[in-house]
């Protein structure tokens, strides 16, 4: 019996060596707007329309309500770093269309971000999408600044919350 257990352990160890370690991943929030503990436009620049801080699913949970035709610009700064990919995520209650795009600078063309909206029969759903690769190589090799500005436009009255950029990294 003892020999059988020892044999089993040896086989398991051999299989682990052959298969190698499993692949993994890591995510890091590099920029975020939670709309808690802030006032007014919470650091976002309103270039058109009007915004208002409102309660969402609870009096203790707040989001930003965008009137129809509102355009927001989020300055991400020039020190944004990421690994392999930047993913935009947000919680939204938007019966109409919410358009999101990124710019390298204020004069560059707007590159749209393809948003996918979470399924579910609820008021607030998750939405998100990968930011497109905006090639602007820097001197520190492989680390790029993908965008300077994130633009959000709403065609109808929308509420957004938990706006965040997540850097993802996969390894094996």
């Amino acid at each position: 019996m003892r020999n059988l257990v020892a044999l089993g352990l040896m086989v398991l160890a051999s299989l682990t060596q052959v298969a190698g370690c499993p692949c993994g991943g890591a995510t890091t929030v590099v920029a975020r707007k939670g709309f808690e503990d802030c006032q007014g436009d919470c650091g976002l620049e309103v270039t058109a329309g009007r915004v208002q801080l409102v309660s969402t699913i609870h009096p203790g949970e707040h989001g930003l309500k965008l009137d129809a035709g509102t355009r927001l610009r989020w300055d991400l700064g020039d020190s944004l770093r990421f690994h392999e990919r930047l993913v935009l995520g947000l919680t939204t209650n938007c019966p109409g269309t919410l358009r999101v795009g990124v710019q390298i600078d204020a004069e560059s063309p707007l590159v749209p971000v393809l948003l996918s909206r979470g399924a579910g029969d609820v008021t607030f759903v998750n939405a998100g999408g990968s930011l497109p690769d905006l090639e602007q190589p820097t001197s520190d090799g492989g680390v790029r600044v993908p965008a300077r500005f994130l633009i959000i436009e709403s065609t109808s009255s929308c509420v957004i919350d938990n706006l965040q950029l997540v850097s993802t990294e996969n390894y094996c």
């Binding site: 808690e36 203790g60 979470g118 579910g120 029969d121 609820v122 008021t123 607030f124 965040q164």
Partner: protein, 262 residues
Amino acid sequence: MRARAGVWAAALVVAGCVGAGVGMGSAWAQDVVTPWATEPAPSPAPVATTPTDPGVPMQVVPVLVQPGDPRVVPPPAPSRRRGPQVGLGLGYRVPMLSPGGKKVGEALQAYGYDEGGLGFLFETQIDLVWRYSREIDVGARAGYAMNFWDPTSGDADAAELSLDVAEVGALVRMHPSRRVPFAFQFGAGVLLATTTLRGEHDSELVPFVRAELRVVMSTARVSPWVSFGYTLASWGDALGPGVDLPLGGLGIEAGFRFGENR
């Protein structure tokens, strides 16, 4: 005198046999005897008399009675007060299995909370019942239940969302028979549900109804019990328009009953 003692011995033997025949074990067989000891019986019928003749002293003629003779009645027992029964219990409910549970899970997930957190609502309760009739107890119940949801994400402004539920209501407990160890219980009342997030509270008074099966483990004055029930209660639009928060669901409770067995 010796004959009367013999009759009583026979009657007790018969009662004991009946109790054992019920098959509920020795503890529940006591119920068969209990009514004799607790309920006032009619005054004993005269066992035997002779026709009375005026002027002739009455003479008592002993008559042999057999067990089962309707004339055999127990003596009245000293009256004992029936105090209320108190029940204390702990348990949990599973609101996720209630209508609307799935939608709440989706709403919480959209905000980064673990959907599974809605799975259980831990509760404690106290009830007080009085006997209304041989089959029915009536009383009141108060309870408190709680749960909290931790966000799964490590966001800086993520916070715990907690739910507290205080309830009070009336109940009716129906015993199919005092000889069996279970009862059906129906209750109704109101509960005050409060959610708390970042120090902000949101409350609502919600009516509820509950049906449960309660099993009592023994006839001792302090006895463990367990109950299985379903509570129907829902807080409309609790987590945004169209997202009702179920506060009931299937539940199981266990505890102790204090008070005289009836």
